[in-house]
């Protein structure tokens, strides 16, 4: 066994690596080092799309936050986006495509985005639809008729909700925003809202899922952690993504190190095997 291979098998065991990274993470959480960063054009486009709106304009935010999404995908970042929208006095219609989404969005607005602090009143400045099933057919149905759900998440008829009075089809809104889901969901929003109704759209999920639509049907994008961190950095509405992104300086370096060590171990083992075969021959 070579020295490198010995080092890898002795010190890079799953348990030791887990302990090491846990300590590193805690240290970084306690003493975050903020290093310089820049803002990409996709994020700049995203912010510009929001900035071009006038106070009182309506944003339709398609969501399918289920059980997994809030924990893993930028809860505090979404808070930053929401607070930015509220600082611009934009009205929000949350359209929910997962059974847990209505309750999630309501909790999100109260406990995280603190809508009351911005003077936002439910029904007047923001509203949450009930769960709309059917995935793409649900998205399409809402695009054709914003009153399709008939009631909001509390069962109040849409005809009695002030924010809906001028919004009958999705093109009555000024911007659509989509988040959550994954590779299959984002193109659904693009097909049924951006293409079908020629709506302007920004994406909160990631460039890779809307790459082929970007610049034509999607006008701005936050490219996962990188874009979300850039949004927080550029707007000064800070969630956790800036810290997470900053940690990538260290995290990615460690990944490179582990890949390099893996390859060194592989090739030193191969060399050793060749040498052994040569000696035997």
């Amino acid at each position: 066994m070579t020295a490198v291979e010995n080092f890898v098998t002795t010190w890079l065991t799953p348990k030791k690596m887990a302990v090491f990274f846990t300590i590193l993470t805690i240290l970084y959480m306690l003493f975050p080092v903020m290093l310089p960063m820049k803002v990409s054009s996709w994020t700049t486009d995203y912010i510009a799309e929001i900035d071009r709106l006038e106070p009182g304009d309506v944003v339709v935010w398609g969501h399918n936050w289920g059980d997994l999404i809030p924990a893993r995908s930028g809860l505090t970042f979404n808070t930053a986006v929401m607070q930015y929208l509220m600082s611009k006095q934009l009205k929000i219609i949350f359209v929910c495509f997962s059974p847990a989404t209505p309750s999630n969005m309501y909790t999100f607005m109260h406990d995280y985005a603190k809508s009351e602090d911005y003077g936002y009143v439910y029904g007047v400045d923001w509203v949450v639809t009930p769960f709309i099933s059917g995935e793409e057919s649900g998205i399409a149905a809402v695009g054709d008729d914003m009153w399709y759900p008939k009631v909001d998440m509390f069962g109040t008829p849409i005809s009695e909700i002030p924010i809906y009075q001028d919004i009958h089809v999705i093109s009555d809104a000024q911007l659509t925003m989509c988040d959550g889901g994954g590779f299959s969901w984002q193109p659904m929003y693009v097909r049924q809202w951006a293409i079908r109704h020629k709506m302007r759209m920004v994406n909160n999920y990631g460039f890779q899922v809307i790459a082929i639509y970007y610049g034509i049907y999607v006008q701005g994008c936050l490219d996962r952690t990188r874009g979300q961190a850039e949004f927080e950095y550029a707007t000064d509405f800070q969630g956790e993504e800036v810290l997470r992104f900053q940690f990538r300086n260290i995290g990615a370096s460690l990944v490179f190190l582990s890949v390099a060590l893996g390859n060194i171990a592989l090739y030193s083992k191969k060399k050793e095997e060749r040498d052994t075969v040569g000696v035997v021959a």
Binding site: M17, D67, S133, G138, F154, R196, A211, V255, L261, G262
Partner: protein
């Protein structure tokens, strides 16, 4: 007498094809006064049917767990029974609190966010280091030209994800973005075109009864 194949396969395929044709015409053709309202109605029906399907799925899941719990007395208490009890207990607790508090309630949301969210964050934390540190070390063993090219692509995209590297060496961002905008987008389009053509071929084969698939298996069972 109508054969099983006709009512279990041909008629459903005809019905689905009819709905799809209306939706496709409405999507691609200019708005027509007859088609558009019909298409909107079909979309609404689709969403409602999906809701019923979802409810059916939940009930099936619940039935399975109740059945398993009822067997515990005869088969004894094991790990599966334990999981079943957790599922049923969670279901009962959330239902009771949900009914008690009504829609938009804080109770289920509190339980959902502050138990499920924390649990998922914990699971994520455990898995994260494996996917980020251990997997690349195993994935990116450079053993051939192809694996070398894959490693290089990954490396260049990774540089773009390191804020300080981008600030110090701005060209890394340009290279990473170019990879996403050009080769990645080309391969993405290729996959989508292939999948699209494949779906059309499958659909046509199913329409003319040449696609064996799951429906045929069920029919001939």
């Amino acid at each position: 007498m109508m054969s099983t194949r006709i009512y279990r396969r041909q008629i459903p395929i005809f019905v689905v094809s009819f709905f799809m044709a209306v939706l496709l015409i409405d999507y691609y053709a200019p708005k027509l006064p007859i088609i558009s309202p019909v298409s909107s109605t079909f979309l609404a029906w689709g969403a409602m049917i999906a809701l019923i399907q979802l409810s059916f799925g939940y009930l099936t899941l619940l039935r399975m767990h109740v059945e398993r719990a009822s067997r515990a007395q005869s088969e004894g208490f094991n790990q599966r029974t334990f999981k079943t009890i957790i599922v049923l207990a969670t279901f009962v607790i959330m239902t009771v609190i949900g009914i008690y508090e009504g829609r938009g309630n804080a109770g289920p949301s509190f339980l959902f966010w502050y138990s499920n969210l924390v649990a998922m964050a914990g699971v994520g934390t455990v898995l994260e280091w494996i996917s980020h540190y251990s997997s690349p070390a195993r994935m990116f063993k450079i053993t051939s030209l192809e694996s070398g090219a894959m490693f290089l692509t990954w490396l260049l995209v990774c540089f773009r994800e390191m804020p300080t590297v981008v600030v110090l060496f701005p060209f890394t961002e340009s290279i990473g973005d170019w990879i996403m905008k050009t080769p990645y987008m080309a391969s993405n389009r290729g996959v989508m075109i292939a999948a699209g053509i494949g779906i059309v071929i499958l659909a046509v084969r199913a329409l003319v009864g040449k696609e064996p698939g799951l429906v045929e298996m069920e029919v001939t069972k």
